[in-house]
Symmetry: C2
């Protein structure tokens, strides 16, 4: 068994550098030279590992989505009851994004600029399915545990309340006149408050 540490390292170094640059600047704003610099290698080696900018970008994007998908599955495919699920999801999602601050914006952004991407994603075997969540919500409504509303709307609301504060951070900070430090405190509190908010909105 040969030690291919050096080999493997550069490859992930590149991927990591590319992630940083792409997430900061987007596909169009990113420069191959900048990625090479950030990875501590030269531009030729980039093309040695990933033939083109497009392929490198796709690798980064797939990686990013692979990271996000399990988070979404916390709400779509999890066995806990609806209120627990909402609590768990908000807490874990906010923790997750605090660790990967550029990720949601990156994904949403490139998905907007490239809607065929979304199409391709859904065709993937590992793409989260909506069915289980749909059934759970409809069952809760029948059992009069929550107010009647379509699963789709509830899902959109849950994701909106959790994801938007990160995506629109600069705007919201400006509008609500909050400093960076205060904003972080506020986000931290949302781990509980968002769940409460949603539960109050739907509980019967």
């Amino acid at each position: 068994m040969t030690i291919k540490t050096k080999n493997t390292n550069t490859e992930t170094d590149i991927l990591n550098a590319a992630k940083n640059v792409f997430q900061r600047k987007g596909m169009d704003g990113a420069r191959m030279q900048e990625i090479a610099d950030e990875a501590g290698i030269n531009k030729a080696l980039l093309h040695y590992y990933y033939r083109s900018k497009k392929l490198l970008f796709e690798a980064v994007f797939k990686n990013a989505f692979k990271l996000l998908a399990p988070q979404l599955n916390n709400v779509l495919n999890d066995d806990s009851d609806i209120f627990e699920k909402i609590k768990n999801f908000t807490d874990s999602y906010i923790s997750f994004v605090l660790k990967h601050p550029y990720l949601p914006n990156f994904i949403i952004n490139e998905l907007n600029r490239n809607p065929e991407f979304a199409q391709k994603l859904t065709e993937d075997k590992h793409f989260p399915s909506f069915e289980k969540f749909k059934k759970q919500i409809n069952d809760c409504i029948t059992a009069k545990i929550i107010r009647p509303l379509t699963p789709e709307q509830l899902f959109i609301n849950i994701i909106s309340l959790n994801a938007f504060p990160f995506i629109a951070a600069p705007l919201l900070k400006g509008l609500a006149d909050i400093s960076d430090k205060e904003y972080n405190v506020l986000i931290e509190k949302r781990k509980n408050e968002v769940a409460e908010f949603i539960i109050n909105a739907i509980k019967l």
Copy 2:
């Protein structure tokens, strides 16, 4: 009084073309040639009216924000009582974005890529102020009309629920397995449902 129709038309033609291209492709993805084509003029004329890509972009961005600001003022600086305000805002905001689908994503996006922009915006005289809303919410809490929560969190929730479904449309369509047509129907329903959702969440 001379008729400067021709003059004025090309200038706004450019601004309009630039708006379309910038909102579709972003600052980095947009090409001056494409803007010129869309405006039906020569590239040199772009630089005649707006000296550089940067200046043209800033003109487009300011215009976009000027369009959005009054919407935000519907929630921040309006005299109606809190429940009416929420209903009015969701209805009018959703109608507004249906007319300008690319606008929220454009603003949030470029604000993320360029956080100094946000700083500059807040310094503008016409930038919405948060004070009135803050007082209103705190008064409602004291009067036991709504549950206790900070005005900032409520504000973030309101904006999130209204704006995110547009910004993340491709992702949400994919996740909840909704066609474009169905999604529009769903958005239309949100004009009422989002307001209900929020009011249920906060009403005592």
